[in-house]
């Protein structure tokens, strides 16, 4: 709608760049504790000092969060049920986001 208005009035180059400029402006929007990166690894716990033979799966996540000008690393471990719950909740969040567009 805005682009048409610009085109009609002859400001063609402005119309071409309007969408890109808006996207850039939106990207400038403040984000608090923005998630910058997520690293993960998973493996099998083979044994511990209490139990010689084990075969449990563990998953470790490292979240890189931007705090002001620096980043902070958050490390955590998840068991399988916790991982599936995490995945499920993120899918629900994504579905919620899709509702709004």
């Amino acid at each position: 709608m805005v682009q048409r208005a610009f085109q009609d009035s002859g400001l063609i180059s402005w119309a071409e760049h309007y969408a890109a400029l808006t996207r850039l402006a939106v990207r400038q929007t403040l984000m608090v504790n923005q998630l910058v990166d997520m690293e993960w690894k998973f493996g099998v716990t083979v044994g511990t000092s209490e139990i010689q033979k084990l075969g449990t799966v563990f998953l470790q996540l490292k979240l890189v969060v931007r705090k002001g000008n620096s980043t902070e690393n958050v490390y955590m471990e998840l068991t399988l049920p916790q991982f599936y719950n995490f995945l499920h909740e993120m899918e629900r969040a994504k579905a919620s986001m899709e509702c709004f567009s």
Partner: protein, 235 residues
């Protein structure tokens, strides 16, 4: 120690205690703090332990024996030594040694996952009192499953994800764009550090903001993890 396929990144005091999990002659207490719930002792049971175990013959009932066995699994404490000495009518020094020996035995059974009566009976020396031997074996078998679950939940690890909350907001305006409608997602992750002392389980929490693209990337990553997990599970 956790001999996982990949290394963990824990940086707290639990690492110091792990260094003591080597072979030591029995009778030496390896905890830094006697009231600590986990005492890392070597997985060996020696003759002195069996001598100490015979003190259980002074117990008045099978339940008294059961009680001492179950309490010793958690490790030595002043309270336990005193109550054991009182129940069995022995000195505190003897009670302390008995608790240590019981702990060594239950730790051994748990470590090697001895699940049949024959396996446990085989540890005892020939000369050991036979009905006491059978009673102790029965008690150990009864409690093995519970102790194993406890050991699994108490093992060292990075802070564990305990709770996850999220909300999706619609950003309608900002200092750079006066009218917009851009969804954003806030996720709060609550983590509990299992390695901190039992009385003060430290709960830390972090809230992150995700753009739609970030959330998509995360889901992409999580999907890949899920696929790889099903490959591992299938093997």
């Amino acid at each position: 120690m956790s001999i996982g396929a990949v290394s963990s990144q824990t940086t707290n005091d639990a690492a110091d205690v792990i260094l003591f999990a080597l072979h030591f002659p029995c009778g030496i207490l390896l905890s830094r703090d006697l009231s600590q719930s986990h005492v890392n002792m070597a997985a060996t049971v020696c003759n002195e332990d069996f001598t100490n175990l015979q003190l259980l013959l002074k117990a008045s009932s099978k339940d008294a024996v059961r009680e001492v066995c179950v309490q010793s699994q958690r490790g030595l404490s002043q309270r336990l030594t005193e109550s054991t000495a009182a129940t069995l009518g022995i000195s505190e020094g003897q009670a302390a040694q008995l608790v240590q020996s019981l702990h060594a035995l239950s730790h051994y059974v748990l470590f090697y996952n001895l699940s049949s009566p024959e396996q446990i009976l085989a540890i005892f020396p020939e000369s050991f009192h036979s009905s006491l031997k059978n009673l102790i074996t029965k008690i150990l078998l009864e409690n093995s499953a519970t102790w194993r679950t406890e050991a699994l939940s108490n093992q060292i690890s990075l802070p564990q994800l305990k709770d996850l909350d999220w909300r999706v907001d619609m950003v309608t305006s900002s200092d750079s764009v006066s009218r917009m409608s851009v969804p954003t997602c806030l996720v709060q992750l609550k983590m509990v550090d299992p390695c901190s002392s039992a009385d003060s389980e430290s709960v830390s929490s972090v809230t992150v903001e995700l753009s739609r693209e970030s959330l998509d990337t995360i889901l992409d990553g999580l999907g890949r993890i899920r696929d790889q997990l099903s490959v591992v599970a299938g093997k």
